[in-house]
Symmetry: D2
Subunit: 276 residues, 4 copies
């Protein structure tokens, strides 16, 4: 599978999370602990929001651990909201158009998991994408089709409902094709202001997903940590697996749940696939 | 657009045609004379038949002129039937899954030209591909969709008719979408025994296509050329543009025509798109 | 050869110069007018100064014209001083360590031209590099050796003199080896504050090099151009060939001359190789 | 470090050893058991002898496990003597010119291990390469410098002695620089007829190296195995780690030893570094 990270908060250099932590995302590209594979070397991607209207993307088809351009960008670009993803292909080609995050207008999307037996349901799912969106699909992954289905179902208006309808369709089409557990996913999506994170799988044994405690809680736990004085109260990280072992920092997103990172209080809700 | 070459005859090192001629295919990658663009630097591919049941492919996303692996393979691999293609993208991503030739079982396919306004007709055309073939499509080009449509229409049984039906469909769908000249193409396809080459465009001003005179004719014209004693009578080359300026060697394929290279006499026939 | 561009002035998006002008650097990658080759498709690189102590680098081994990451970075990164370079290899391998600009600490360096018969003088020149700098050489180009020789001769203390001593050595070693015209170059180097540009060749027929008129002059010539109101008085561009045809904008750097772009008045001086 | 494989014997498809065995070299690229790192994803290379005077090379900078061209070539090219190498960089750039095997005329060379603190001794070692060979060095690895030193010391005339002199020099230069254990290596080299394999390290705890039992012995151990009837008596494989767990097949090369695979009896001798 893959590993991913979503950051939202005070603007920081990307390297603060991609390279510096003990079990950083780059470390996870060679030594993932909780993934289906320890190696995530089939390409990578980052997407970051800055002052421009749409987020920037940088993608590569080699392993993240040896990519010098990723190292350079991470140590020179600051962002208040960014996604990072390292890929372990489940069979589709290693090419930039298959690297996450995917982008549509100001939206980003990334995924860890898979649509089971994707080759058997790909045609039906792809043709359920709105015809006006269809020609924007560039790659061959299940993850990108999931994104365009969510857009078809109104991601830009009501993100949680759109993702619930997308999953509802994937499960419906999959079960018609005789697939027992049609989907396995952790997904993050953002419009540059809010970030939504989803943890769900048909068999209710979803890939791991963690979020950081509130900065307020962390300040109480670690009163002497100067970094916590510098970052804003709103700062939050969501990751496939923790970036370190500090107690009290990382909390598991419960099974079949989604969360929203936003100005004001963040939220967490049950995730229930919707069918028409 | 692109440039391509198809060889059939006595087994030779690929470099004999890819590198050695004055205006070789590699030279054409930087200095094409008859193409829409002089530079064909958006990836390349070769496909060759040897003693294995299916042909081999080698593809790259950089320019052919600087690819060391292509140089190595061309100077060490011999083949009796091979395709070579250099790409100038008309917009779709530069990635291996978009490089020609495409392969299905023992068949190869390559194309120069385009389906006009492909993004407007892509969905309808892709939907017309047989569902059992659909999941074999890996890239995002018009050329690959053309191949899978031809396979849908029976390429493996009657190649000319299948290509005529494919073009018929492209023109029908294109015209319904208000596109004046839906297709522009020179195409080569082979099953390892026979090679078919097609020259056609909706406006009947098709990209250039040339074939070599018979070896017998060439021997009469150039009685002192020792190479012509070495190659078999059946040897034939088809190219987007001639590899040199020797008089009597290169003949233009007429507009709206296809040819067959095969054991025994080669053939040339009018090409007429078919609609159901 | 290659094409390059150096910008210094008000912070702008890189795309303003790399993509938007009529004859932008990206356009020059396929259609250079004044270079030895029209195609510069053997890799590229950009280096930019922002708020970090050392400049950032981004390099690629494919052609600049089709690189999506370059497009993304150029439309999201702003800089007050940046270098951009597109490469046409004169024989050495197409790899990131051969792409310009080269970096040492806060210094950038890029080059168009060549050391003649480099393979014959490479050993002597490389061993003239200070042993403490030697192991920083990563690639195989003449351009990088020129950079490390200039560093050896005190680039960081007196840039013009160091470059003059470097050229003096190249000419001395070259002539001993019986090479008539040992060097051909336009070079840019910067420490993040000042930028130096050099135009020189042993035969005094150097590659083209241009600089923009002062913003004050441009405002007088084009009083209605709103862009000129936005950029600072200090803004200046140096390029291998002009980015457009507007009269009064582009001035040729004279033969055997170097210039300094800096706070306050810029300067131009004769360039004279130095030997010990 | 790296993993490598050298084959000599009846012509076979490369995939027979690179992909098909349980613990094939491609499997070792993700799951090496005996290496310093489990992942060898920093590029790869193969070199094979066919009917041309010099061997062919194919190299890639991505991981071997996802490279489609390597898969294609391995399933279509047959060779009687080939090298394959998967790289785990110890710091130098991931680029084709740093991928093994290296080639000079008809010779191939590949290496697992390292020269300790290479950046401290690189200049002295490189300077000891014969000036006529110097400009053939294209990359930045210790392994390539070792090859050119061995060529300098007469690899083409007396391979074992040349390697012993190379190692002698590396140890001498290293110890002068205060390096306790200057070299760690398993090396294979071939001229297309004979293959030499070396296992040595300054601290006499060298990386693992194995060779297959003679085909005669294997036939006696596995009288019912039909493959053993097909391959010639001379067939032999040398590998960093065994391709499978079959008892009686894999024998460890002793510490500080080299072997020769050749027509007639193979040989094994002690390896003793030579100094002038």
């Amino acid at each position: 599978m893959c590993r991913w990270l979503a950051y939202s908060g005070s603007p920081i250099l990307l390297e603060e999370l991609l390279y510096k932590p003990a079990h950083s995302l780059i470390d996870q590209s060679r030594h993932a602990r909780m993934g289906a594979e320890t190696t995530n070397g089939d390409g990578f991607g980052i997407g970051w929001y800055s002052t421009e209207p749409t987020p920037a993307l940088f993608k590569g088809i080699g392993p993240a651990w040896s990519d010098r351009n990723l190292r350079e960008i991470s140590s020179h670009v600051r962002s208040q909201l960014f996604f990072a993803h390292i890929r372990a292909s489940t069979g589709t080609a290693v090419q930039e158009t298959n690297c996450h995050p995917f982008r549509f207008e100001q939206w980003l999307w990334m995924h860890n998991g898979m649509i089971s037996d994707f080759h058997r349901v790909k045609r039906d799912l792809t043709y359920a994408v709105d015809p006006s969106l269809y020609s924007h699909i560039e790659g061959s992954t299940d993850s990108e089709v999931m994104f365009y289905l969510a857009l078809t179902f109104g991601l830009q208006d009501d993100a949680p409902q759109a993702v619930e309808r997308m999953v509802g369709l994937v499960e419906e089409v999959g079960r018609k094709a005789g697939i027992e557990h049609p989907i396995q996913m952790t997904v993050a999506t953002s419009d540059g202001d809010r970030t939504w994170a989803f943890r769900y799988s048909s068999q209710h044994q979803s890939r791991s997903l963690f979020y950081t405690s509130t900065v307020q809680t962390l300040r109480e736990t670690y009163p002497d940590n100067p970094v916590l004085e510098l970052v804003s109260d709103e700062t939050r990280i969501i990751v496939s697996e923790p970036l370190g072992d500090l107690p009290g920092v990382w909390n598991e997103v419960p099974e079949s749940t989604y969360g929203v990172i936003q100005d004001g209080d963040d939220e967490m809700h049950p995730f229930v696939p919707l069918t028409d």
